[in-house]
């Protein structure tokens, strides 16, 4: 492999941190979910890079499972967003302070 493995690790760390900063800073709850997708993709890049580096296919199978969990998370998360929007007509996380309604 021409590209050293550490470059892939740095790339995935960079994307993961961008996602982390997005989750911590944004107010729009949809963008927060998009940032979680960024973090999941960063781990997937790491998995595939090491799978190719070590000649072991288990990493790619784990990316497959991470994809399944991402799809499930998006479906449930967007359903929660729609339910919250119906309740408060807002998707700003600052408006969701109460656990009890």
């Amino acid at each position: 492999m021409a590209v050293p493995i550490s470059y892939y690790v740095v790339l995935s760390g960079l994307v993961f941190l961008i996602g982390l900063v997005g989750v911590l800073t944004r107010r729009n709850i949809i963008v927060i979910l998009l940032s979680i997708e960024l973090m999941l993709n960063a781990t997937n890049i790491n998995f595939v890079a090491f799978s190719s580096y070590l000649g072991n296919l288990s990493g790619q199978v784990f990316v497959f499972f991470a994809l399944t969990v991402a799809a499930a998370e998006v479906a449930v998360g967007l359903a929660i967003i729609i339910a919250l929007y119906r309740h408060t007509t807002s998707i700003n996380v600052d408006d969701f302070r109460l656990l009890k309604w």
Partner: protein
């Protein structure tokens, strides 16, 4: 050549990931995430994971992102203030962790990663076929659990988005 391709994909991935977080309009964020998904798929192709590249485009770009855009347009949100009070703390934390990670990777003494293994036989028989063989032999039970997760998510999404679930009076 290979490193040029890698730097192209990595540069576009980092740029679009930054745009996802920085852009004001959630539709533009979702569209730049779409560009990022395509470039991650390209990175997978350079790493000889062709099956995952196809799955990445079909599932992420085709299904998940369409769901996002659907919800963004359904909710019809107006522009709001982007960042809240803990933005400066988060930026500080992110920059610190990033510097630490880069220093750890590039300044560490001795081999940090195990030595690379040359192409084994399972990687040359065709990516999809060998993934299928691993998935349905070694990882058969996790595969079944994944189907259960999808079922639970489907039922949960239907129940949660039903009218009146947060309002017990109606």
């Amino acid at each position: 050549m290979a490193s040029f391709v890698f730097f192209y994909f990595a540069g576009v991935i980092v740029l679009t990931a930054t745009l996802v977080v920085a852009l004001r309009n959630p539709i533009y964020s979702a569209l730049s995430l779409l560009v990022m998904f395509f470039h991650v798929a390209g990175l997978y192709v350079t790493l000889h994971a062709e099956f995952l590249a196809a799955v990445q485009i079909i599932v992420y770009a085709g299904a998940i992102l369409v769901l996002y855009l659907f919800v963004v347009m359904l909710l019809n949100v107006k522009r709001e203030e982007r960042f809240h009070g803990q933005a400066s703390v988060a930026m500080f934390l992110g920059v610190t962790l990033l510097t630490e990670a880069i220093l750890l990777v590039f300044l560490s003494e001795g081999p940090m990663f195990p030595a690379a293994v040359a192409n084994t036989s399972e990687l040359v028989t065709g990516n999809t076929k060998s993934i299928g063989q691993v998935l349905f032999s070694t990882y058969l039970f996790p595969f079944e659990v994944a189907s259960l997760i999808l079922l639970v998510a489907m039922v949960g999404a239907v129940i949660l988005s039903k009218k009146g679930i947060l309002d017990p009076k109606s």
